[in-house]
Symmetry: D2
Subunit: 337 residues, 4 copies
């Protein structure tokens, strides 16, 4: 932490800041320029509350030196987190594909789609049973019935399943059905929920909030990690900008950035990230070229009748074509799919 004093800060103000820092058990390095006095805080690992120091009289601002996340950081854990799931490795050389419908709508729709994505080479089946919807009047998902259908689809295809959990009290139920728990973008800072999945025994895929920085995503991962669950997958799914042609702006630069800052696997969701099925294939290919460890893609057997997100869903045949194209890109960057 570095404390920058205001131009013309009084001697006494500097002395007060120094005293406070020493009370915290930290050391002080003082630099007195003609224009400003700068105070370096040497914490040697102690957490320092910069916000408090920033508010002291005569202080202009406090500049943090260390990143605020630790368990999620690559500095703390230099090698990649890799963990097995149903015969494949998440975070390894192979790019993992999760595919399926946005929402589970009925038995036939789910099973048909599950078979189709399995045939196309997907590794994990996705499907929402609890759906966060902006409007209280929209379809809210099939709930427990949907989870049962998911279990049936897993049984039949052998694919592990990922599904969203929206509230802490749903965690026990969803955990009995899901191989990976998904935390949706709107729940990224639902701390009670992060706490609950942090105590579960399931891998968690944490989606970046549409309004959240890369650092905040890592801080939310830190919540899960600090509750004992070290199988966290990060997911970039588009952020909100001023651009109206796409539903969100898919921030692919977050992929190499997250890989640099953290050891956790990074998955990209080009379906929500663009909101338009025509853009899903090019952005999926771009994601793999940028270094993503996986993709999560919405596939629906008849997008035009889907109960949610049809505009961004691929038909099974297009998904199958995409898997072939992805194999070439993966190979070009030294990976498999």
């Amino acid at each position: 932490m570095i404390i920058i004093m205001k131009h013309g800060a009084a001697q006494g103000e500097v002395a007060n800041v120094v005293a406070r820092i020493e009370q915290m058990g930290c050391q002080v390095h003082l630099s007195e320029g003609e224009e400003r006095t700068i105070i370096g805080v040497i914490g040697n690992g102690r957490p320092i509350d910069g916000e408090q120091l920033a508010r002291m009289s005569g202080v202009e601002r406090a500049v943090p030196v260390l990143r605020p996340f630790k368990l999620a950081s690559r500095e703390f854990h230099p090698s990649n987190t890799v963990f097995p799931l149903n015969g494949v490795s998440i975070g390894g050389r192979q790019v993992i594909t999760m595919a399926g419908p946005c929402a589970i709508e009925d038995r036939d729709q789910l099973l048909d789609t599950a078979r189709a994505v399995k045939d196309a080479g997907a590794h994990v089946l996705r499907g929402g049973a609890f759906k966060p919807r902006t409007s209280p009047y929209s379809f809210q998902g099939m709930g427990h019935e949907g989870l049962k259908l998911l279990a049936e689809a897993r049984q039949e295809t052998g694919l592990p399943v990922i599904t969203e959990v929206m509230a802490p009290e749903q965690v026990p139920l969803v955990t009995t059905y899901a191989d990976i728990l998904q935390i949706g973008a709107r729940s990224m800072q639902n701390y009670a929920l992060l706490h609950a999945v942090g105590e579960s025994q399931r891998p968690v895929m944490l989606k970046r909030g549409m309004m959240s920085t890369v650092e905040e995503l890592l801080m939310s991962a830190e919540y899960i990690l600090s509750h004992g669950n070290d199988r966290v997958i990060l997911c970039e799914r588009g952020i909100r900008t001023f651009e109206p042609y796409t539903r969100n702006t898919l921030d692919l630069s977050a992929v190499p950035l997250l890989k640099q800052l953290s050891h956790l696997p990074v998955v990209v969701d080009p379906s929500h990230g663009t909101g338009k099925w025509e853009l899903v294939a090019p952005m999926a290919m771009a994601a793999v070229a940028a270094g993503a460890d996986g993709l999560i893609i919405e596939v629906h057997r008849s997008p035009e009748t889907a109960m949610s997100d049809g505009a961004q869903s691929l038909k099974p045949s297009r998904f199958s074509d995409l898997m072939s194209s992805l194999a070439l890109v993966a190979q070009a960057v030294g990976r498999t799919i």
Copy 2:
């Protein structure tokens, strides 16, 4: 709903869309231009799933004609929602001021601040017992102990209290202590929580998410209203933009916009909205001039030692000065404080 067909859409595609609309029980008005065919959907009150129609073959896009919120809309409920709270009216001619510390830290801090804001003329005491924090390593609030102190402060000062509730399972506990339940910005789309407070018997202040549109705020209000609770207060607290000098960008134009679109009372939070105490007073005055029904302001007896948000907290003496200035602005726009 209006359906805009693609340039060169086939006759059969148009016919399919028309058939689907008629299946929904709606009427169709067809406009065939040389460049595009446009299909008007006359629903006469029926909910129309435009997303589904937009995905049909040959369709370019679907344009909604009606606003997606109903219970929250002024069209549906032309007169202002006004309700009494402890001798004052929320949503009426008087501008309501809620003030107090960001977080409850200890008994003396809370009681001292409570007395100070009461003396300065505040109508409601604010204080956080459950604190949503970006970092798992930051102070998370005093929890139930904090709520008890809040009850003591209410007892002593006679001020009703507002405090945040972060999870559905906390609602029963917080409801026994709070006069107004606060839904924080990060929880604006926590639907399980909106459901829970919608079924409670307490007024709810719903804060706009930091990257949520005005329409999404009203849709979240719609969740609460549709669960039977009609005492909802909307709160503008700043949105996230590219500007780094302020913590958020306080969107004051949301005040007259919300008053136009909705009948619900609108409160402004200039403390979170700016993140800098020097900007709180001018923005509080601007909020009243723009038509806000209330203000929520962080006051701390010694901001430089506050455990959260000290940089944006006013000292009691400054808050008292602000209340005097606000009285003049309120009078200038035909209101009292």
Copy 3:
């Protein structure tokens, strides 16, 4: 400038940075923590190229300590810039109102509107002769003919005029007609244009770019000031955000922020800032309450036939009512209008 070295930076890397700083003629203060080495650069007024230092081997980042603007800063020039214009003072106790049509369309339209805004109490007439338009197919303004009409309106009403200049080669022509040169939001970083108006003998109103920070606005003012023109007026006119209900998001917190950082007068444009005439009056009142030194408001005798920006223009009668309301708010904050 403070240089933060990477975790584990080598001794030699630190030595190289120190040597480079000393080459620049600056002094060094070294703080070696267990986690990081921090190097303070004491420039004593010398400009330091932090970007260069940030790129050296072993450096994590460089944190500037001083603001990058000088002539525009209040530290450098503590008292407000106030200058006379046609009998009123810009930047003084009186709030200045500039009003008129977005674009000059014909003689009658301009003269009628000019008389109306004069009668309502406006101090300056606005009107665009050169119009920056997103589409090459939209009306681009009357050009020189429009300037002549502006001169006629000034003659008749006695109001000084403000009009936009879009290119360096237009500056001599526009200067012969305008009392204040306006730099539009899209031109805020048109440096050739800033240079040209910096060398003119006219006051300049510089509008904030729709996605420019407060600091960038001040840097663009610095360009004008550094070319010898010290009569610069800053104008907040809304920034671009994700919110679609308003054309822009009017950032009123920029008003007290600019007044704190700079000595230059600050004007607010609630017409472009909101894009909706219904929001103009409440936001104009809020701007005055927040401390604005002036307002610029679009007024059109028949907004529904205006050739540009009709949706955000006030009719003369509404503008006249607004002036009465503004007088009360101005009085409440110790000013006149």
Copy 4:
């Protein structure tokens, strides 16, 4: 154009709108629902001023049906624009790479870098002689001297050159030296400049403004095209968002979107798009995978002493490695480099 009337609009208001539309020479299709009246405007190619109609009494909003760009649109010009440049084709199957220093600093720096990028396989040399800088105190480029060095580098390496032009009066000078004129992000809506390069005989690379939508980029291209120059290259270079870790957010989804909406070639600038050299290579690969027709990349022989943008510049050896990796990705998507 579709006109949506307000709930409860009067018969006379509808009649007035209809009359105005008919005056414009357009036909009307009326849809009267129980909740709203909708008026379809059939223009058959006539430009319709929706803004004017939107302001008429009783109108809620006007929804455009056609895109506002024509010459730039793929509907108007279905096949890709491809044009030759010095033996290669811009917009064809080959991915074109432009590389070189951000700013031309001296003869050795430019010639060394030019040779290096040529050896690595680049097709075009970039180098800035006129530099738009936020601060008037930063290095503003070598100007005419820089252009002469560029000519020398072209002579020696045989590479065509691209360089920025910042003002209309510079166009004749820059045209005598440059093979491609670059319009920088801050100039995207400098209409006098677009006009000037539209009348020049040189290809133009138009960079997206950091605050500009895809549609606005295409409208600025439309300005150039409508002045007779049909060799326009679009460039995505990152947009401004709330994310602070990267300088801009590179919007790669703009690549397939622009290819879908327009026939013009699309180039990506991962250097400005990320601001960090570590992210340049992964984002360059992602751009090619997403379908970009070219890349523009900053290369500097010693980034740590570069006079601008060193943090985002690659060393020649890294650029050479990147070219090898790009060849594999290009091949994977059926292209060459």
